[in-house]
């Protein structure tokens, strides 16, 4: 097996006296497509922010290539869930992708043909070439996701993190994004860690799953993790795994939920 790109060992995070994540251990290898799955509020975004160095950990260690992550790590690309821009922001799609190369640098830069071609190639790779000159604030959610994937990938990262990229997308955009990511991950050997509250759109492409619930994780191959026993232990209450036409539903059992289990549900599922 190739060396680990990313390794989390016994990571725990406490925020304002509340335990957000505890004892999280996982590793990601080059080229792997990993789904970070769990209900809303389970700690998926916190986990991504830890890997990005935006959230300090209370305990445990985060290693990139076997060493602590440096402050500016070009090997990790990031696609946030939401962009903070208004429709009138004067950033065209090509400007956004170009910022992926050097947006962190001070000073001004002159335009160059080589850069323009590189941006165009990247936009073509994610299927966003047609709206290269549109303002990014005017695009639909799915179009913005493609642009931000291009923005993240143009710096040639080896690990791409995406926070809920499929949230609020229509079903066709959803499939489009997943297939673009799967293709790029295979072709370029980029590891992908993608968070989602619904694992079903990812089923065809996911190599491994990191299931987050109640601040803890279960890690492994999809068929290993998506088991009633594993997920019940994680949630701290009995859950059923229902498979319908290749799709998976994780549902809490209505009967026999005692008070302790209800409390666990309050802590984990609804948080």
């Amino acid at each position: 097996m190739s060396a680990e790109l990313l390794r989390l060992d016994g990571v725990g995070v406490r925020l304002g006296g509340r335990e957000i994540l505890r004892d999280v251990s996982l590793s990601i290898r080059p080229g792997e497509f990993t789904g970070l799955i769990g209900p809303n509020g389970a700690g998926k975004t916190t986990l991504l922010r830890i890997i990005l160095g935006l959230q300090p950990v209370t305990r445990g260690s985060v290693l990139v290539d076997g060493a602590p992550r440096p402050p500016r790590d070009a090997s990790i690309g990031y696609v946030p869930q939401k962009l903070g821009i208004e429709p009138d922001t004067p950033l065209r799609v090509r400007d956004v992708v170009s910022l992926g190369l050097d947006g962190h640098k001070f000073g001004i830069r002159l335009p160059s043909r080589a850069r323009r071609e590189r941006v165009d190639d990247m936009l073509a790779a994610v299927g966003a070439r047609r709206y290269a000159d549109a303002r990014v604030g005017e695009l639909s959610g799915g179009e913005q996701q493609r642009v931000m994937i291009a923005h993240a990938l143009i710096g040639r990262p080896r690990l791409l993190l995406l926070d809920e990229p499929l949230a609020n997308l229509d079903i066709s955009s959803e499939q489009g994004i997943v297939s673009v990511l799967a293709r790029l991950a295979r072709a370029e050997g980029i590891a992908v860690l993608l968070s989602a509250h619904d694992m079903n759109p990812l089923m065809p492409v996911m190599d491994r799953i990191v299931y987050v619930a109640a601040g803890r994780v279960a890690v492994g191959r999809t068929d290993e993790v998506i088991q009633p026993e594993v997920l019940s232990r994680l949630y701290g209450q009995h859950v059923d795994v229902i498979r319908v036409h290749g799709r998976v539903l994780v549902v809490a059992a209505p009967e026999g939920v005692d008070e302790a289990e209800a409390a666990a549900e309050d802590a984990g599922v609804i948080l």
Partner: protein, 302 residues
Amino acid sequence: MNVFRYVVEPGFFGSGPVHIALAVGTVVAVTSAVVGVFTVMRGQSFAGHSLADIATTGGSGAFLIGINQFWGYLAFGAGAAAFMEMIGIQRRRGRDVATGVVLGAALGLAALFLYLGTEYSSTTGASFTILFGSIFVITSSTVPALIASALLALGTVLALARVLLLTSLSPDIAAARGVPVRAVGAAFLMALAVSVALSAVIIGAVLSTALLIGPAATALRVAKGPVRAAAVAAGLGTAATWLGILLAYDSYYWPPAGRGWPVSFFVVTLITGAYLVTYLRRPERRPSAQESPDTEQVCSPA
């Protein structure tokens, strides 16, 4: 050439105060416009306006103790910027309280300073100068300081341009890539304070955000890329300032004869007019936004 002479009054290009007004006006208009583009983009127009209100207090305080108003604008603007950065009121939370309490108090102080200042020195028009500008009475000794301040603010914003763009796209991406987001925000707020002080010299403290926000807001409606937006804003700000100076000079012969109309009236009116004109354009329809590019990849729902 009769028409030209009718528009540009004889003596316009020969007048010393006009030379200074045009030179300083151009530098300040360009600086304010470029800083303004980032101000609007970062959603900090409110911060700009707060700085203008507090600069008014500084300007009137400077008048009271007999020093050049620019230093008052600058000192209070920069001080307020530092304070705002410290407590974070330039962000949405806390804006209402800040508006109601702090800015009201600042303008109240300005009223006191102006009242006392005009009582003691019996200078008429000082209040007007501070509130609405004094481009024709810029003393030549302050010109180097004005231009140096403008270049400093402009240079700061140009040096931070890409980082500011990345931060407005997503502060998290910027932070993950090692950008000191907080420090960059503080540096930008200082450049904003300097621009407000400079605009206050041209069109007055209470109107200074017009020169800052107006051209930028107009540019954002018509220009797409960041470089083009900054260029359009700078062009608009400069044109409005030059035309404003020209019309104010001409207006000496307008009723009531012998008392020129204020430059700030013309500049602000021209800027507002340009902004309104952008609403006359039909909004352009982007061809690609309507259809999803992925339609062909959808398999039938069954």
